[in-house]
Each structure stands twice: as structure tokens, then as C-alpha cells.
Symmetry: D2
Subunit: 346 residues, 4 copies
């Protein structure tokens, strides 16, 4: 039995951080993780099970105040923090030889025009730029090789995960007519908006409702464009807020650049994800629904092809807190240490 | 005070029929409507307030078994029945001089290729064809003049209402690049699926879920195409089932055939609906949400324009039981008798 | 046509205040009401339809900063404000000859031990005490006569309304064995917790959940005790937070002090509420459900009697924003001006 | 490594049966279970993952038509069937030496007056009576010893589990004043009503609603009475239908027969469940909520004591499909084979 790996979670009190802590606690190759509140949070100490009573009855999960000292023995640090905190802390961790998986948007984007929506204020701009270059976009199905060696993994956005995984096979096969435009009409549960109480996340605002938001301006757009080598004119991404706690469904519209048969599209998706543990391709015309991947690390994909053999509707579902955040982070961890991809996730 | 009009509702025990009965009961120009169960329903007699206790305490609402005899004094008959029942009964009513507003899909479509999805089996095909020609598609904002004179009004589908009203102004202004395709990604509450208990409408199937259905094959597609003079290759319409009881939101994607400014698009919509009581155009970038039009007869419209001034996202919301069904039926009734358009609806 | 009455709403931007504004705007005997934000609210001015877009398209609803000057012509002031604000402002209004209907808990309680949970800090304690004596508890079915003449009406709490109306007939008939204890297990939708975003009202906290709160300590307990002349040992009132936006259901358990037949209990309830417009008594064993009274001013009552003819379960439902708040306020207004009880509410 | 045990599930296509199948599939001491549809179900064969796509991507889960032949090698049979099916099949299984865990109400009740609500029609009444005597009520925290040796375990009802576990410690300590009556006001998610689509389980009937049902007449009442040695006059049990897919919360009201301190009540509960893996006792005044035990096998208990030290409110939560059904069945399985109580459940 090899020695276990020591991990820490910074920001364990948010939705993704908590979900991550739960996964790490039962991961067979890990010591019990260190859990930190966000630097900005009031209330040093305490216990995670007080905040999330679902955890209680399983021993203590002490929350520590963050310090570099406390990270001394840590092999890998998860940052489940706002992007500015991740931007400030990741360089220090990497410099100390600690591998980092960051769940925020801080390190996902290489191109300045996409990063600008975040408005980063780096104290050491050169170091931040250098680390940006080294950071690996942590989508295991696409970037597995680089993730294995990475010192900093930028865990993808939840929406971006659902959209990129749906489109990657078809773009790789070069069958999409990009000039006609790709549209992702995406819908997410409320946990994607974070744990902060706002008028937007108030129960009465969300229940019995549906709303579109950030049209032509959502931060995940840049990730999708970069990972799929699209330009801004080729994609419209429209997020919506669903009256459910968790789960994402993206309905994606593409034009094919040649006529295809359903079986061809089916093969294109299935072959691309052959052997990939966490992507399920449904047989057309059966489509995934949000419930099917809830509480799992799966990305579910399905499609319908029009009678003209040219127009394609793809449906992609993920649990935004798992494949869209904490689950994918554990999948990345597994890659980084050479473990099976479903360790701690099955 | 002019004499009151006598109406009847066939199918008052379904969601739309009940909603219609409620509206008619408080309409100031109507006698208390006669209420009929569907011909196929078990249980002659009874009282609508037994089935919908929200009605109780306001006197009796007896349900009658259907007969032509009972319709003798009736001026106008609402058919809130399955399309085959509407198809069978409307000719008889019209022949007896009773005006008809049909809430089903029986009489909405002129073009045989669109009607084929319904698979009508008319006992008198010639009469049915003749009545099809006379039937007026009851979207008051577009067809007000014809509705006024109609003997048979085909009340539009709920999805179709939301999509047609959003697109009509831009198509009328001839600013849409149809060849690039129009997409309506539409989402509806469960009452749109009817009152019949099925595995699809079971609470556990719908809650915490979202699903796309009838992709490339929903019956409302034909209505949209006919009313907007589009051909099938120019539109994709994708319905989704939302975990809410009622309400529709359509997110609609169009390419403009020339660059436009937001103010121009705004005017295009506002001018088209100037003086229309039941359409509200939001000021960009404010978008409608399902909650805003719930329990009202409004269709709410809003839009966002991309930086390239070419790509447009429209959002359209209706309450599927009101502007999408019973409310619009009353709006049509008001037109047919020359009353103000918000009589019984304000 | 008599002159219309001039009203104002202070706190029109909260859930109850908004609901009240909507009712007043369509009330046939009122001028368009003046709408004020709460004194503490940021953002003077603005329009109520901006905050509640459901209102839009019906003209302007300007929000004014509060001042006594602005109230000069006002006949009746609704306070939809926190209790401390109501406590501070009501004396000034009454002194100026303005009648007041207060929707907070500020003036509902006569007995100091019940008031203590609110911790009032009155600047003029004697004046506050005097006004407390004059205030009428605004439950029209019980206190109609006093409400007619009142200068200050303390509109009941939502939970209290549901509990008091269920128990009043049986207590009046002296058939309850109080010494065995009365229990109200009450469940409310989230709008009852107010519009302030908190971790408790976050969608993710409420959805797929149910929780009891304020056990043995909810503020509405005092109202129930005072109105029903119970002592604290005779009642347990336990509120729960339901994953719905609005509506209250109270399940109430009582012991009868003698054997009764179902028909006797039925008569007891029905006779008590004979001629009362806004109470509906269901025929046992049919029970009210939250949906039945939603969006109405009804209080729905029903019951089941055990085989031993001694133990009784009552079920009472109200819409917490209507019969539990704004609707009841309008019902009180109607009484105060001698109008029909359903004016503006039907 | 000892040989694995061979199990089968009859009725794997219902909610409890499916949940059970999922648990058994990952249980480390079991072979892959045989899965049977209910005898009455149409559609022999098929695959469980077709009906529950959440299962897909993990190999095949073939559904077999039921036959005794197919059960030949089976050690233990789970019956997730309607009570009449369980009543008909359990004797045959036991006679063949197959141990049985039955999830229905068929074998839970010893006393004829409680059983009468089920209206059993046994073909061999003597055999059925004999097996009734041998059946063990499968609540592991109370009947662990007998469960270990049982050939037929009657898995408790979901409501009954929540109520019995809350009351057992206090009744054992003899501190409840039974003559004043015990009340359990219980609320359940919709999966408790089964997978059959009915007007009661239609999404539109349940959403935005709450309803009480089967007042003074729910089948689980008998279980509670028998297990706690109460007579019918000492308990009122009122179930309600919550607008959530799963989870139960029971609010339970008892009178103490002497004054107690909160710490005493706390100890009473904690001591009773010391070492019990699947009961969590919360520290007063912290109360469990439905979310906390969802997707787990925990029963969560909490309480508040009135100032008079006499009146006690208990709150008890379970996931109706786990601790209330399939999870408890696995817990029983573990006991029956001498495995740790959390095998396959952690």
C-alpha cells in the first residue's frame, strides 16, 4: 500500500468546496483533507458538519484558518475560492511545490480578451502571466496528458464543461459549419450561482420561474471559445436560471457542413469518448435529462438530427457541482497521481 | 345595457377548460356559461367546484352531459377538447349557427403537410375541408380583423403564441436572415402537457429535472411556420419540460440581414405592438421572466443584440393557460363581439 | 358616485406591500394609492413596476420618499413595515387624523408578556401604551364591529389568522378540552419570511426540504393566545418552512370535552361562519389544500373526527400574502368605510 | 474472502426496488443481484437502465420474468412488491429455504385489527398465519437480535420508521404521559406514494401545494402502535404530501409524565442510540431538516422542550427510499449475515 496523499481544500464552506470535501473524505488514496475557510470568511475554526449537518455523525471536520504554515505537508491544494483569491494564492502554492487544482475562473483563460471580463489585479503581473502559461485547462477527456504533469490545473466552469464536451467530437471531425453559428441554450440549477444569499437566489425569485441572464456576456463563453478554437462570432451561449437546486442541461444547435446519417453522428460521439469513464453517449433519439446525471460525475450526451441531415440538436447534461466542479476536480486529481479515473467517484 | 351573450364550454374539466370557465364566470358581458364535460368523460353531472375546490363557495357550477339540445340557446361554444373531438363537433356547431372558439389543434393548420401530424379522420372530409378554409387562426395581434367576423376561431397553441409574437415584427420589417435559420428554444410548465396522469407528468419525473422532447417533431411547429410564412428549413423549435406548473419562456435566436442598433430593434417591436393591450415590450437589455406574466394574459417580449449588431436573442414569455390558451380565447371572444380587448381579463 | 378615498402604502416594495398595492390599484372605491418605500430603504423614487415587472404596462407607479407632508390628503395609511417602524409612525398618523392599518406585529398584542418578544423601544411610552389600548385586532370575522370604528387596525399575522379562524367556533361553543392541550402544526411558504435574502431563504436551502423553526417561541403565538383567551400552557404552535412561494396550512389537534358527531362539528363551524364572505368550510372528510385558497382571500377550513368522537383534526389554509396579510388589510378597509367585504378582492 | 451471497429483487422497477437494486449492485459482499419485474408487469425482460437511465453506462442490468426456477441459487429474496403479491409469494420462498426481506406491509402486523386495513386474501390462511408469527419487524435499532435469525423480515413503513425511532427511547424510559395523547404530524415527499401516475401524483397537483390525507386512517398507524405497545386512543398520526420528491419529516408532540430538563431528554435519546450507526441525535435546540438525511440511511432526531419542562416536540427525518425502505432493507441484510451495519450503505 503506497503512502497516502495529503490534500487541502481552501473554501470548503461554499457549495463546491463542501461537495469536494465530501468526495475527498471517502477517497481511498487520500489522507483526511485539511479544510480551510476562505481567507475573507468570518469565523475561524468551527466544524464543517455544523454548516452542513448532512456530514454530522461521522467524526469531526475541523475548519482551520488559512496559513502557509498549515499547508507545509500538503501535496495538493484545491482552491474553491473566488477568482481573485485564487489569482492571489496559486502562485505562492506552486512556488512552494504544492500542486494546485483551482475551481475558479482565475487560470482557465490564455487569451487576454477573454480574461478581461474578470478584471484581474495581479500584484506580480509577470509571475501571474507565467503561471497562466503553465496552467492546464482541466478537462480530462480533452487534456488528459497535460493534466497528468500539471502543477496548476484550472478546473473548467460548469457550463463550459457541458458545452465543450458536446461539441468537441464534431469539431474534431470537422463536420460543423461554423460560419452558420453554434448556439448553446444552457440552463442551470441555482447552486451554480453560489451560496451567497442575493435577491436573485431568494426562493421566491426562483421558484415557479425561469430567466435568461448574461446574454452575450457570460464569463464561461471565453473558455468554450478557447478550448474549441472558435471565434466569438461563431458561438452564442445563453445561460438560464432553473428552479432546481443543481444540474445543467445545454441544448446545442449546430449546422453540419455536409449531410450525415444519424448513425454517423452517433459513431462520431461514441468513438471520441470510447474508453472515457465519465461521458455517456445516449442512442438517438433518446436524450439525456438533468435527473440522469444528478449526484454523479457523468456528462451525458445525446442528439437528434433533422430530416435534412444537416441540422443537429445536441443535449448535454452534467451535475454542476460534480462533473461541473468538485467531481471533475477529483477526476483531475486521479489523473495527476496516476490513479484510476473513477477513484473516489464511483 | 345590451343583452348578455350565452356561452358554453365543452371540456371544462381540463386545465384550459377550467381556466376558461373561471374567466367566463366573471366576464361582465356574459351570462353564466354552460359547462360540459368532454363527451368521453365518465361521470355525467357533478359540479366543477368539486373537481377544482378553488372555485367553491361561489355558488354551483353544474357540469352537464353534452348534447346539441343543451346548446340550443348558446351563441358561442368553446371547445376545450382533444383535437379529434373538436374536429368532429365544430362542423355541427357552425352549421347550427353557433360561433366556435376551439382551443385544440384541430383547425389551426391550412397546409396538409402540417396537418398530417394530427392524423385527422374526418367523417365528412369535404365539410371538414371547407371549414378548415373558413377557420381563422385566433392570434388577435395579427389577425384581429378576420377574428371579428369569424364563425370558427382556431385558438393558437401556447408555444406557438410565444414564438409567433416574438418573430412577427421582425419578419414584417424584413430584417431577419432566414437562410441562416431561426431557432426557438422553448420551455414550458407541466400544465401544458395536460391533466392526464402519465409517467411523464408524475411529480417525481418532473421535479429537480429538465428535459427536451419532440425535437424536430412538435405539433406546434406547423402553426409557427404557417403564420410566419416560413418553410420548414428555416426554423428549429425545441420544447422542454420545466419543473413548474405553468408558464412558457421561449429563447429565440435570429440573424439579422443587416446591422441594426438596439434602438432600432426596440422600435421595431414597440411600433408593431403599439396599442396592443396584451403585449409588453421590455426595454433592452431587461428581459422578461416567466413569473412576470404568470396569471395574466400578457405576452412579454424582450431582446439582446450582439456587439456585431447582427445576432439577436429574443425572449418571449406567456402563461400557457392564459395568453397561451384560455385568456387568448377570451380575447378572441371580445373581438368577435366588439368588446374591449381586456374585458374579463384585466 | 361618492368621492373616492385616498390611501397610501408605506413599504410598498416588500412582498405584502406590493400585494397590497396591487389590490388597492384595482379597488373601485379608491383613488390610485400613494406608494412609499420604507424609510430605511435606499433609492428614493423609482417605480414599483421596475421592482415588480408583473405590474408593468399599466402606467406608472411612482415610489415616493416618505414624509408627513406627502400624507396630507391621505385618509388611510397602510403600514407594510417592520414592527419598529410601525411602532414609531402609527402614533403620528393617528394624531393627524389618518386612519391606519398596520400589517406588522407592532399593535396586535395587549398583554405585556406577549409583547416582550418584540422588544419595543417606544420614544413616547405613554402614547404608545394609549394607542395599544385603542388598536383593534383586525380579524374581520371576529372583530368586525370594532374594526368599523377603529382608527388603528392591527392586521393579524398570517399564521395567527389560519389558527384563530379554525379554533374560534369550537372555543365559542365551549367544546374544546383545553386542559389536554391544543396543537397547531403549521406550514408556510417562503414569502412569509420576507423579501430579505438570507441563507434561510436561499433557494438551495429551501428546495427539496422541510424544516421546523421557532418551536415554542414564534411571535404569532401571543396573538393566538390573546384572541382565543388561551393561556400559554394550552397551546403549542410549531411553524415549518415549506418549499413553496406562498400559502399556509395549519393542522390543528384538539380534544373535545364531550363526544360529538361529525355533523355537529360541521354545524358548529358552518353556523359560526354563516354569511362570512371569506371563510369556506369544507364538508368532512374533504380537507382544504394550500392550492385551493392560493391567490384568493379565502380562509379554508375542514376537519376529521376520530372514531372515539373526541379527537378532532382541523385543517386551515390561507394565502399568507392575501388573507394572511394584504387581502385581509383590504377586507378591513372595506369594513372601515362601510363597503361590501369583497370590494377589490373578488 | 468468503463466498458472496446471492440475492434477488422482485419489483426492481418501482422506486424502492430500483433504489434497492442500486445499493445491492455496489454492496461488497454480494454477487450481482437478480432483478425481476413484478409478476403483473407487462414487458418481460428489458434492462433496468432503460427505465432508470441514471444507471446506464455501467453494464447491463437485465430484468427477468419471475419464476421459482430462476430463484434456485438465491440466498435471499427482496420483495419490493404490493402487499398482496408479497403475501402470496413469501410463504413459497421461505418454504424453499430462501430468506426474505419484504418491503411491503404484508407481514408487519401481528394484530388482526391492524391487519384488517389491508384486507388480505390468503389462499392458505393457516400457512399465512404461521408465517405472520415468524415474521420479524425489521427495525434494526429495536429488533436487531431477532432480525439476525429471521427467515422473513418485514421491512418497516417509511412513516413508521420515522415515528417509532423518535418515540422508542422515551417510551422505554417510561417518561411519556400516554393518556394525554401522542401526535405525529408527518410530511412525506411524493416518491412515498409510489411510481404509479395518478391525479394525486401529477406534478400540477403537488407543486406549490401541501395536503393532509388518510387522517385517522393511514396503514402505517398499526405498525407504530404495535411496535410501541400503544393503543389506538394514545396516538394520532397525520400524513401530509410535500412538494418534494423524497424525504420525510415527522413533528411529534408528547406530554412528559414528570418534569424533565433538556439535558435529561438529550441523554435519554443519545444513550438509547449509543453505538447505533444509523441514528443521529441532534443537540437541542438544533433540529434536523429533510435535506440533512436525504440520500443517506440516517434517521435524524432532535427535540425542543417547553419552558414548563413537560411538553416536548420531537422532530424525526428519514429519506423514505433509504432508511424508510431500501436502505433499511440493506441494513437488515447486513444483520442477517453478520456483516457491519453500514456495509453497502456508507
Amino acid at each position: 500500500m503506497p503512502a497516502k496523499i495529503k490534500t487541502a481544500v481552501l473554501g470548503a464552506t461554499g457549495y463546491s468546496g463542501y461537495e469536494l470535501a465530501r468526495l475527498l473524505l471517502r477517497h481511498p488514496r487520500l489522507e483526511k483533507p485539511l479544510l480551510f475557510r476562505r481567507p475573507s470568511e468570518n469565523g475561524d475554526g468551527g466544524d464543517l458538519a455544523k454548516l452542513f449537518p448532512a456530514l454530522s455523525g461521522n467524526g469531526g471536520f475541523p475548519l482551520q484558518p488559512f496559513s502557509w504554515e498549515a499547508l507545509k505537508e500538503v501535496d495538493l491544494l484545491f482552491l474553491a475560492t473566488p477568482h481573485d483569491v485564487s489569482r492571489a494564492l496559486a502562485p505562492g502554492a506552486v512556488a512552494r511545490g504544492i500542486r494546485v487544482i483551482d475551481l475558479s475562473g482565475a487560470w482557465r483563460l490564455k487569451q487576454p480578451q477573454h480574461r478581461s471580463v474578470y478584471g484581474f489585479h495581479d500584484s506580480d503581473a509577470a509571475a501571474a502571466e507565467e503561471l497562466t502559461d503553465k496552467a492546464v485547462y482541466g478537462l480530462p477527456e480533452l487534456n488528459g496528458e497535460q493534466i497528468r504533469e500539471a502543477s496548476l490545473v484550472a478546473n473548467p466552469g460548469c457550463y463550459a464543461t457541458s458545452v465543450i464536451l458536446a461539441l468537441a467530437p464534431l469539431l474534431a471531425a470537422n463536420v460543423i459549419g461554423r460560419e452558420k453559428g453554434i448556439i448553446s441554450d444552457s440552463k442551470s440549477g441555482v447552486s451554480g450561482a453560489g451560496k451567497e444569499p442575493t435577491s436573485r437566489t431568494h426562493f421566491v425569485s426562483v421558484a415557479d420561474n425561469l430567466s435568461a441572464y448574461s446574454v452575450f456576456g457570460h464569463r464561461h463563453t471565453g473558455e468554450i471559445l478557447e478550448q474549441l478554437n472558435l471565434n466569438a462570432a461563431e458561438l452564442i451561449f445563453t445561460p438560464h436560471l432553473l428552479p432546481i437546486p443543481r444540474g445543467i442541461l445545454s441544448t446545442i444547435y449546430v449546422h453540419l457542413n455536409r449531410e450525415m446519417q444519424p448513425a454517423e453522428v452517433q459513431s462520431c460521439l461514441q468513438d471520441f469518448y470510447a474508453g472515457k469513464r465519465w461521458v455517456r453517449v445516449f442512442e438517438t433519439p433518446k436524450l439525456p435529462e438533468i435527473q440522469f446525471s444528478l449526484h454523479s460525475n457523468y456528462c451525458d450526451l445525446g442528439f437528434c438530427l433533422a430530416d435534412d441531415h444537416r441540422r443537429l440538436v445536441l443535449v448535454s447534461c452534467v451535475d454542476n457541482l460534480l462533473k461541473g466542479a468538485a467531481g471533475q476536480a477529483v477526476q483531475n486529481l486521479n489523473l495527476m497521481y496516476g490513479w484510476q479515473e473513477d477513484k473516489g467517484l464511483a
